[in-house]
Symmetry: D2
Subunit: 336 residues, 4 copies
């Protein structure tokens, strides 16, 4: 829409789109308002002219990519900046999300939360419901963990990020969590994507172990039908190499930048499975242009309930943040 | 348990296991009854002797693999034979599951159903709810499709196989379907696995695009906590090769045979994405020792709503079945 | 060229091609003679008409694929049949190449050779110069091994297949070997390909661990500039799955059939690294339409110098050949 | 050996090793001298004590990894620093190797060489003999290209890096080149590795498209039997992702650091195949701890004979070097 086009004009365009048998979806940004016309428009070339003539319409752009709402054309090449719990995620900041793999106790969580807050973290992550490869492995503290995280937010002011596995827990997450994480193994669980999108909350969507960049963006489209606040997360892909648990695909960051307006962060902890690699890979993520990190920190990794070998110690986290911030700073970014 | 150990003895063993802080799970087979003791038993070597002394206990076996209920040790190396809707799936049969990628109409479905039944198919497959990479693609006819499939079963006597995406549709599937299919993209959707297992129905579990054989068997463990009727399905993995849509991993069939008692079938249609490859790959699946096939058949593939290029034509299906049955016959298998 | 076009007409066409700044390569087959015009012909559409008018020219076909001489258009869709040491390799036979991973001694080699010959093998394979991942591993008996293989041929009448690593050994191979094998790790060693092609002998070219089908056919083009007798060999590709050493890509057989006129065989021994999988995979290779097998057989695999776990025992080889021949027989093939 | 152990003592140790049926290989470094005992020492535990007692021996260390000479234990965890043509490659520098994919003409090469020298490059790279997937593609200017590079060295003082494909060209490379490059497709061409190692010159060894880190180090062992000056190069691996030409495996840099004393550089040009990704990936390589880059630069990439889309323009190279140097500088490295 043209700058200054009022809500009546926007509504009229949306109505006309519906009248043409398509679905209209309106996104109101700071600099621009966009009305997407979703549906099968192949061969209907006359639509462009028809919509272009409506009052208030600045331009009509066709998106021929397999993904639509997440494509960079959907915002006319303007990167999206999100504001979550007082933190800004976007092209001029670096968002440091840190915390334990899984919430183990009130004391442990508070200790870690205060530690990472003092070191400059932007948000607190912590697992409550854990997706485990085997049904016989520890599955997380559940509701109790979310309540602990909620208290930790009150103490530190850090917004909370936690993974949702089952939509029946939606209310619990609405009450206690600021950002819903969708795990790699659920990236193509379309039922869950649709339902989480409908919650209208900020979401971190992790790339599936063998998902292409195109598939990641199509999965984001499921979410974007309900929420505008989607953050993508590269966390390593499956390859033949076994020296690291997964292969962190840092090329995906600039490749995504060419294709999408959404922020992209990196999880070096799950990618490598080895804390000695987390520092170098986190620095590389900052240098390659990521908008932030999702990193596991534990007060005593050797005693962690899960994924101990990949968690940073809180004692080392301050120096870690400094080094990463220096790399991010070279591109003009400051910690969110 | 010893042959002839009555249900009272079995119950007593289960109770003792519970008394030791473990979870007992009882499987009653034709030749043997097995009581699994699930939980953290590392370092508790005294348990073996304690359980071995209980009346009716024949042997105590520790399963050190990451998967338990699906492991071949869980049945003392006896392959499982399933009976579903009058069809036998196991080591002496070859189960030919055929039908359209997606149910498009009543007429189309009936025509295909009669065609594949006449050609010797064992079950009818058909998509009702389709998992689609993009939210803007055709998502299937839903409930109506299941009702049509149900009618097709009445006409042909073929049990019905269809994919369940959302547990809120459980009742619908209980009413209309004989075997629930879990798609590759949901293989590690543990919430769904647990819920479908609880339905107690037969399940076809497809291997994830980048799931290892070990992960497939651990996913089966989720199901096996609720149902004993699980069929595994190899359908191609993600590799660097782009000449075929996926790389069908036929080595997985004998590799699974060494590790699990569960039946294993093969889906050559999704693996290749090209009907010209379906015949050769189906013959290879029969020769490599698979227990059956899941294959897409359409009356007019050029007009199919989805995946047209990979669907066999009904006109070619009779000859196809003959060729496959000949290969399966060399190993003493007859069509289920 | 038209059937009946004499060598003078063929030579005239080749000369005209050279006159146009291209390289001419003539292939004289049983049913047809083909003159390839190699070079940059993009944008020179007038060439087709010019060549089509020459006396004796039947048709001019442009091959737009990245591979040329190996493409199925290069022989007008006629599959190539090779005759090597009295054995026929092509669409109506199944070529069983068997023998030890590496030649260890005269006695062992003779024993295995007589065993596999009696069981119906078509050719004898044996390693003389071994490509080893580590420079500190056993590298083969070298020249002595080739002399032993040569004697084994005299005893059994089986043509000999062995791998050449270094072109300085060309004379040795010319004297003692019937088919030169190029290993997977040398598939893109273009210097070696060119030099081996120039030897004009039959060649088995193994697919590289991460080579696409297109790259395999382009590698074959290097050989085909010097020899017409090229056999392709699928031997497993690198994927994330670690349950088998490599992932045997049997889809490649029908995919190659659509693209090339060259015979294709399968090596199930290196692909799986486990003799228990060799039988099933060999049967699958026969069923999927391969033209033969390259399989490792040893008189006492537990004592083998290398790759013991994947070698079949000579005692089991007779039954193995029978089972494979039955699957190949269903497609009308007899043992070569 | 102990610091100060003279050459006589070293020679005596080597002789004793030979007397024990093993191969001795001596490496004289700045801080230490090491004598490797190569051969099958499994089960010969008495060797350790026997060698430890020889005069001048400080310690005896067993290396149980599959690679030996390249393992970090081989230098007692001291990283190797190389000096090539006045440039230092090692832990305190960052080695920027830049130049055209292929040498096209004298003028072009001189222009690029002066440009990259002015911008701060450490060495000049240029292709003379090109390994091409198809035999019908441009194969490089050959000898003429090497002579041009040699002249460019005289003009700029930059050492020359170029790929050797065929050992018959060894003399040509000795005359004109400072560092021999071994391409990814030849990483497991063991004949070539052995021969190039014997030349005793500095070598850049590129990782194969599907080579594991362990295999790369075993390939380096082939070279290290002849030369001590080996640089490893990560250049992208084959995965399922097609948005980039290969997947640059930056995790390999810290993973290699844990395993080897050899310097490791990164080639972001071939990995991505897209110059827009080269800048971000080069920054990431510097941040992750690489010892340098191998990057393609052309005066007019749109007109390049090969790989145009991935080559940086000389006009952009100065800014590129500044940004990369800033990231490398955060870890205390200066341009070599």
């Amino acid at each position: 829409m043209e700058p200054g086009a009022g809500s009546l004009l926007v509504a009229a365009v949306a109505e006309r789109i519906a009248g043409l048998g398509l679905v209209a979806q309106t996104t109101v940004g700071v600099h621009q308002t966009i009305v997407a016309a979703l549906g099968d428009t192949a061969g209907r070339d006359e639509l462009d002219a028809e919509l272009a003539e409506l009052p208030g319409v600045e331009r009509v752009v066709r998106i021929s990519r397999p993904y639509k709402l997440s494509s960079i054309e959907a915002t006319m090449h303007e990167p999206t900046t999100l504001h979550i719990g007082g933190r800004e995620i976007g092209p001029s900041t670096f968002c440091m999300i840190a915390g334990p793999c899984t919430v183990e106790s009130r004391e442990q969580t508070f200790a870690i939360a205060e530690s990472v807050a003092a070191a400059g973290a932007s948000m607190l992550r912590g697992g409550a419901f854990k997706p485990r490869t085997s049904p016989f492995a520890f599955q997380g503290l559940g509701r109790e963990a979310l309540e602990i995280l909620s208290e930790a937010r009150d103490m530190t002011g850090l917004p909370i990020v936690s993974e949702l596995l089952d939509i029946t827990q939606a209310d619990l997450f609405r009450d206690h969590v600021d950002v819903i994480q969708i795990g790699a193994r659920n990236m193509q669980n379309y039922t869950l994507l649709r339902e989480i999108g409908q919650m209208g909350m900020p979401v971190v969507l992790k790339r599936g172990l063998s998902a292409t960049i195109d598939e990641l963006l199509q999965a984001a489209d499921y979410l974007l039908r309900g929420t505008e606040q989607v953050i993508l997360c590269e966390r390593g892909i499956r390859t033949f190499e076994t020296a690291t648990r997964f292969t962190l695909d840092l090329s995906a960051i600039p490749a995504l930048r060419q294709r999408t307006h959404l922020p992209v962060i990196v999880d070096p902890s799950h990618a490598s499975g080895d804390r000695r690699l987390v520092g170098p890979l986190a620095a590389a993520a900052a240098a390659v242009g990521a908008d932030g990190l999702l990193v596991e920190v534990h007060d005593d990794p050797t005693q962690a309930h899960c994924d101990g070998p990949q968690q940073l110690a809180t004692a080392d986290f301050g120096g870690f943040v400094e080094r990463i911030a220096a790399h991010a700073g070279l591109a003009g970014r400051t910690l969110a």
